[in-house]
């Protein structure tokens, strides 16, 4: 009798297999390039275009966070040719000798990237030797105009008791501490115990007001009017505004984090030449534009911005803020194992209270 269950399961799988089979075609090519990128962080068309133009086969792999990417690269389970980590992680990979220097001569399109982004990148990649910027953005406050009647221009609003149970904080150590440290006028890369303790106490005081600590859920919760104020990445702001016009994005006056995700080539890469071709292709104005339109995260590619038809987005303060207008913008750097541990200890105290 119970054979039936197996039969049903097997039949169901077979039917689904039959239904969808023949979709995955494989083509052989002379060379290949193994790319490791964030999920949903590229327009799939650009990969097809690259394959068609160069004949190089792209083996494309995705990761969810910098931290799940790192052990895989470090252990060498799979050998990647191009990776796209964030600033502080690039810093860590450089310090731990996992990356090789990139010869910008071989990537002519890398000149399309604005100089100010290279300058920002020196914070984690001194001398711009390892990384070519791909996407960037700021962290700021997203609020609902119909639910918040105070002026929003400072991180202080996140401590306003009027909005208790309606505030969304980022569920990540560095971003949470960035908010508290910046609010008090400190560097977000500080290792000063007094500054950190002060930040910890502030975050503890804030906890009763916080509805939830979330990462990607800010987006949906803000669109659905579930909360009135949230800490969010600028790349999400354009999308959330499109879905809910009541939302407004602000970079607080105390300064914030400017993050940059860059292309890097790991030291053990097998197809360095193809990796260079891939990065070069991604730096081409038209390709960068395609990617920008697909993922809506700001592109550092000046050529791509020039190609933008939509004046509104071209001059959007969210997509392309004039960074010189803001003070105290910083980029995360890797704090070392001990530094990470210190932050994490304090964060655990906050979360477990």
């Amino acid at each position: 009798m119970k054979k039936r269950i197996c039969a049903i399961t097997a039949a169901a799988s077979c039917m689904l297999l039959a239904l969808f089979s023949g979709c995955a075609g494989k083509k052989e090519a002379a060379g290949e390039v193994v790319v490791y990128n964030w999920g949903e962080y590229i327009d799939p068309d650009t990969i097809d275009l690259f394959e068609k133009e160069t004949g190089i086969k792209v083996v494309y792999d995705e990761f969810e966070t910098n931290e799940t990417m790192y052990p895989k690269v470090e252990a060498g389970a799979t050998v990647y040719d191009v990776i796209c980590p964030s600033d502080y992680m690039i810093n860590k990979m450089i310090k731990n000798g996992l990356l090789q220097e990139i010869d910008r001569e071989k990537i002519p399109n890398s000149k399309n990237i604005g100089q100010q982004y290279y300058d920002n990148a020196t914070e984690f990649d001194p001398g711009n030797r390892y990384a070519i910027p791909y996407c960037w953005g700021t962290v700021g406050i997203l609020y609902n105009k119909t639910m918040v009647d105070d002026p929003v221009d400072s991180w202080d609003i996140l401590w306003n008791e009027k909005y208790a149970d309606s505030i969304l904080m980022q569920d990540s150590v560095r971003d949470a501490f960035m908010v508290a440290l910046k609010r008090n006028g400190h560097s977000m890369n500080t290792l000063d115990l007094d500054e950190l303790t002060e930040a910890k106490n502030d975050l503890l005081a804030q906890k009763p007001l916080v509805q939830a600590y979330v990462v990607d859920q800010v987006r949906d919760k803000m669109i659905g009017n579930e909360a009135s104020i949230g800490v969010i990445y600028s790349g999400e702001a354009i999308y959330t505004q499109r879905e809910n016009p009541d939302l407004e994005y602000v970079i607080p006056k105390e300064g914030t984090n400017v993050w940059i995700d860059c292309w890097v080539i790991p030291k053990n890469a097998k197809n360095v030449e193809n990796a260079e071709k891939f990065i070069d292709f991604m730096c081409r104005g038209d390709i960068a534009l395609k990617n920008f339109e697909y993922i809506t995260y700001s592109t550092p590619n000046e050529a791509a911005r020039e190609l933008l038809d939509d004046e509104e987005i071209k001059n959007s303060e969210i997509a392309f803020p004039d960074l010189s207008k803001y003070q105290d913008l910083e980029t995360y750097v890797y704090l070392g194992d001990d530094g990470d541990e210190l932050y994490n200890e304090l964060w655990k105290e906050i979360k477990s209270r």
Binding site: A212, K348, S352
Partner: protein, 275 residues
């Protein structure tokens, strides 16, 4: 006869080899990391770290929530298994699949769907306000975590219990009825004792994953409550402190030992009638 007995023992060989290679060797690695520090020298600090206020609290909270969730699962699943058992036999496989089918939707998607249902502006509150009833406030509380645990692990309790109940010989129940036993007596004297192995399996399969979960507390608890699973996960994914993460995992293994003792106690009854 002796030869067949030796043969039967040999049957376990593939599994023993498998568990040696894929369970014990990786376990050895966990112990290696748990008992060393970053520089690789021997230390017990990572294990002793469990007494730190935050870790101990996270552990007790996880134990507390997992216990409640397991108890609720048991209370819901036992009557369910009894009911399923009385249904027409030809619909059994159908019924079982009905209970497992929701789990074929991705875990993350299901949990996100619960968010949509439970949120302040969610579906359930929408229905409640339509009926002019007061809204519920469950999301981002421990109640939501328990609900998530019960929802996700209930089938793991239903199936083993149902399995052992359906194995009970009808004639025993009939005999008891003939001798004048009433419903509660039959339940307490026949069904309950004879389904103990299933209950133990069910408790193991619900309690253990509930104890170590981190996704549920993140998505439904709003990350405001730190469970031991979250701590371990973050030691690996955020701090990259594999040593501390492994050390705390070793502490969790105490519960395996506890579980071993539990099943050993109840194994006595099974002793008499194994093949």
């Amino acid at each position: 006869m002796r030869r067949t007995k030796a043969l039967k023992k040999m049957l376990g060989l593939p599994y023993y080899l498998w568990s040696l290679f894929f369970i014990l060797i990786p376990l050895g690695m966990v112990f290696y990391y748990g008992l060393t520090d970053r520089s690789g020298s021997l230390t017990f600090e990572n294990i002793a770290a469990i007494v730190q206020a935050e870790h101990a609290k996270a552990l007790f909270y996880a134990l507390f929530l997992a216990l409640i969730a397991t108890a609720i699962c048991l209370l819901l699943a036992y009557p369910l298994a009894l009911i399923l058992n009385t249904m027409r036999i030809s619909t059994h496989s159908f019924t079982i699949l009905i209970f497992i089918l929701p789990m074929w939707m991705n875990f993350l998607l299901r949990t996100i769907a619960w968010q949509t249902l439970l949120e302040k502006t969610g579906v359930i509150n929408g229905i409640l306000s339509f009926l002019h009833l007061p809204p519920i406030h469950v999301i981002n509380t421990p109640h939501a975590i328990i609900l998530g645990m019960v929802y996700n692990f209930l089938p793991f309790m239903v199936l083993p219990i149902y399995n052992s109940i359906s194995k009970i010989d009808r004639s025993i129940v009939n005999a008891a009825e003939d001798l004048g036993a009433n419903g509660p007596q039959i339940l307490l004297r026949i069904y309950l004792p004879l389904s103990v192995p299933g209950i133990i399996s069910g408790i193991t399969m619900v309690f253990i994953p509930a104890l170590t979960t981190f996704v549920i507390s993140k998505l439904l608890g709003g990350s405001k409550i730190l469970l031991i699973g979250n701590v371990i996960e973050e030691e690996f994914t955020l701090t990259s402190n594999w040593n501390l993460g492994s050390g705390l995992s070793i502490v969790l293994m105490l519960f395996i030992i506890f579980n071993m003792i539990l099943s050993a106690i109840f194994d006595k009854e099974g002793e008499s009638n194994y093949l």
